[in-house]
Symmetry: D2
Subunit: 327 residues, 4 copies
């Protein structure tokens, strides 16, 4: 098990969907940084459920309680820990999942890995709910980055293949008792040149490692990405030029990263989010107890699409990686 | 700088394109494993240049010399180090690159990061040549995996957008003094269920981290990948069923990984390789010395397409990750 | 900052003496282990203050509250987090320390490192109070080790140079408004042969790294330790012999470790604890504000000797290291 | 197995006593540092055998061959690898050790750990010879530290209990076919204030972890060390005072480290080296083959005392740790 990330800033996420609390420890923050708590809450709210008709009606405050690492709202150099108490949980909703794993979910792989001791309720540690502490960590890193002129912003590019009117794809899926995924694009501006390393610790390597921590992510591409595999070098190569004293490239097919290292151009990457696996439509699965095939109808509250709520999570993952690199 | 990967097996790659030697240390191999040297050489040969008309005419033996870690051909528990001497290097080819960085290459980012002290010749530590030690490490890991029934195999899916006759795309690019990229698909069979971790150390996270160490990789997707973002949950969810006593899924849109953990289905991922940045066509760049825009014509020996030689590299990266996880 | 330890089991400690709470996350525990909560509390109580006349009168329940990682009292494979709320804190006691650092304490070094943003109250993150979460982690590891026949036990060897009647040395120091340190010996039995690695990750290296996390530790020695530097090889070498089918050594000058690796003999090490720096006697120090020398009289509640309370902490540190190695 | 150290500068040591070569990779050195090769060789020579009557007559050049990481003698940002070819090895000397492990050596623990596949010749990876690549790494780090005013110097405090005339203790041991150990003291001056972290990554923790990588080290103490356990707080606490604008302490019982963090006073630690286990005197051991007790007479070339040659190794270990922290 490893819910720990980072070299200079170590981030350790804990909690299950229905445990007493979920939370995060950030070990390595600078001393003396004043956290803007209102801004952090606004960032958390972008991820929180129950905020719009496009997300699950489960209502949660998702308000971090800080246990350590601060004097007032200012970091003191000690590890910062924040938790969110779990409330409004209805474990009964998950009774049938104890025996019948949801297709597309981690239920089955967790069942085998943890020998049946996994916390089934709400998906346990595999729940999308664990992206809340990710957002606490990422929200703080975003503030520190902003203070040095680095911004991290993600947007929805398409949902269910629809880039014109993405939300209508959600409405249609909901009406059908089904779900949809989508594509999120994240842009980082203000990056200093020279951040990242060759080979295993390049910026692409690290962003990819962090972004795949968000449940439902199945792909990532930087700059022109998969499309670059289909064009020629003469088109894909980004020409350098002087813009005043600054070196820039006329295009940004490289997505701001060459050889794992930032070029000073915006870092751009896209993330593929699969459709939410929990759907109302009855599905074929298996029963552990009976050792035979079984039908499953997932009950309870589920988003038909988590893409809108995943947007701040992608920002959070990117912010954590970048801050760890420039710390 | 970090050319080191792994937790239980630490892999440390060193060397520049034109340094005395390139090589790799594997720290954490099991004692008592007999390396099949002939098989390893055959694996290395798949990556080696000069083997066909589709790769650079620079001829290299790429024969590993083992400095430590073996008694005979059998691992002894001590770190294993193997090197390849660099010969047949023509540094003069790179004289103009000292002043004018190649578009699409790491020349410029390395120049800024290392303050002008970078080894320019042949791309230095950023050269594709550094995938040779990656293949030594990966080739050994592949053999150890094969001994427990795990196979790692990659194939070319398309080159320059051409999936029917990929090699003709290379011929056309070469004729034009240009280059092309492509897409490689890798499949791992025989994986035990339960390998990988939730969140940051999932199998997707780790494979992605390792695969982006191969120069020119700009994207990765698992299972149905980006396409999953365009279909509904009812289609994307892979139904579980019993096949004899074994749990399987009827489709494999999840690419063998759920919640970062293997399901026992084949692990499948695809990698986007950008076109080789070094092309004969004159390009626009800058001159550090003059502080103004400049033209660059890249001389010397260059592949019009590195996709065929990247196939064993993708296998190597996957093998390293998987062996580190199951060690 | 790094309050994180471990490779296979990552332990992350957080909190300050007077923050909302202190706590610990263990990431990598096996699923399905039932924690004996009563036994854990008894272990915590050995470290807790206010239990005897030999420790500070500050009374704390030191009862862990588990936030995650359990279903009932059984580990579920997710990271386990436990916290202890801080109560009964009297920050006013530390007002003068804000300006005048205590000799022998981390007050001054933390002040410089964190630029004056450090949490002064109670020593902040440097407080001996942070050994409580260390003991939560270590107490759980001890239970898992005990289940496979490995016991970790520490005892007081001497206090203030007195090995005959160690507690009388405490009484004398207290009467003088002074403090004393001492030496603790820890023995690990039931170790499998072959645990540990050569060079940097040997068992000695790792135990030393962990034990120096306990505030006030200034030395560690294994087996015959410093005394071995004063005898000849013929005396120090431990002869091997067969005891039934088992290989043993007749003496244990090597402290159960040869080449960083366990020999199957008991692992034995001793730890030097300096006298508690907080004493009632007036001391010479400096004033940050005045930029000149100043007198300091430390007020508040302080142990004249922390050696008795450090005993379970040494066990905890050893247990964490050993479990991380055999996991 | 883990012969890898470091966070910002990763050091990976490889080789066996009688393998083709031994060597080291440093990943993370700054680009643009010119290595003084003559000074490095002089540092290596302090460790090399055959230099005086006090060390083994095996003569080795111990001259590093640099494979990568340099352009000329200047670091280029890529991982630096240097090797030393093994020559003048007489494997025949170790034939009996294949069956009869040397008391006090890692022969037996390696035999169990590596299932009989360990490289027996010359102690394999456990040989003191592996401190040569440690000294390459440490020698380079020492030069980088010196450039910023940090010096690392170790001296012999006593040998065989003799602090007045340490070398005479060696002569006596040699005459008796026996061996002796001793104590080395290392002092680091010019340390910036604030280096190191609380808890697990304190400077004491890290120096201890690194120093125990030197074979034969059995203890370490900082500042007043074990002796501090025998005095009172009023004596052990080091008073702060202003010396001009600088804060200093009048005594240095804390060895330059408080709370894991440097105070600006010299860092001082002492290391206990056990007597060389290889002695001419016949010893009792066991025979693996016969499964019974056996006599062993160690043949070949062996130092009666490795303390003089360990002095630069202690400096090297300290230099590596400190440079990794301040990088």
């Amino acid at each position: 098990m490893s819910s720990t990330y980072g070299t200079k800033v170590k981030i350790s996420i804990f909690g299950q969907s229905h445990s007493e609390a979920i939370g995060v420890t950030l070990d390595g923050l600078p001393a003396g940084f004043g956290i803007d708590m209102e801004e952090l809450q606004m960032f958390m709210d972008r991820r929180a459920p129950g905020k719009s008709k496009y997300s699950t009606p489960r209502k949660e405050a998702d308000q971090p309680e800080f246990l350590s690492g601060l004097v007032g709202d200012v970091t003191c150099g000690a590890p910062l820990t924040a938790i969110i108490r779990n409330t409004n949980t209805r474990s009964g909703d998950y009774d049938n999942i104890r025996d019948i794993p949801r297709p597309g979910h981690a239920d089955y792989t967790a069942h085998v890995k943890y020998g049946g001791h996994e916390d089934v309720s709400g998906g346990g540690h595999f729940s999308g709910r664990l992206t809340a502490p990710l957002c606490i960590a990422g929200g703080i890193c975003k503030q520190i980055l902003a203070a040095v002129g680095i911004t991290v912003e993600a947007v929805i590019k398409e949902i269910g293949g629809n880039s014109e009117d993405p939300y209508s794809a959600i409405d249609e899926a909901r009406a059908a008792g089904d779900s949809v995924g989508g594509i999120i694009e994240c842009t980082v501006t203000g990056m200093p040149i020279g951040v990242g390393e060759p080979m295993f610790d390049g910026l692409e390597n690290k962003v990819a490692q962090a972004v795949f921590s968000i449940p439902a992510v199945k792909g990532i591409e930087f700059g022109r990405g998969f499309d670059a595999a289909r064009i020629r070098g003469s088109e894909n190569n980004d020409e350098f030029y002087f813009d005043g004293g600054e070196v820039k490239t006329r295009t940004n097919n490289h997505g701001g990263i060459l050889g794992g290292i930032t070029s000073g151009m915006p870092v751009v990457f896209r993330v593929a989010i699969k459709p939410t696996p929990s759907i109302s439509i009855e599905q074929n699965s298996i029963s552990y107890a009976k050792g035979e095939d079984a039908k499953l109808a997932v009950r309870g509250r589920h988003d038909p699409c988590i893409v809108p709520r995943a947007v701040p999570c992608v920002e959070a993952a990117a912010a954590i990686v970048i801050y760890d690199l420039i710390r």
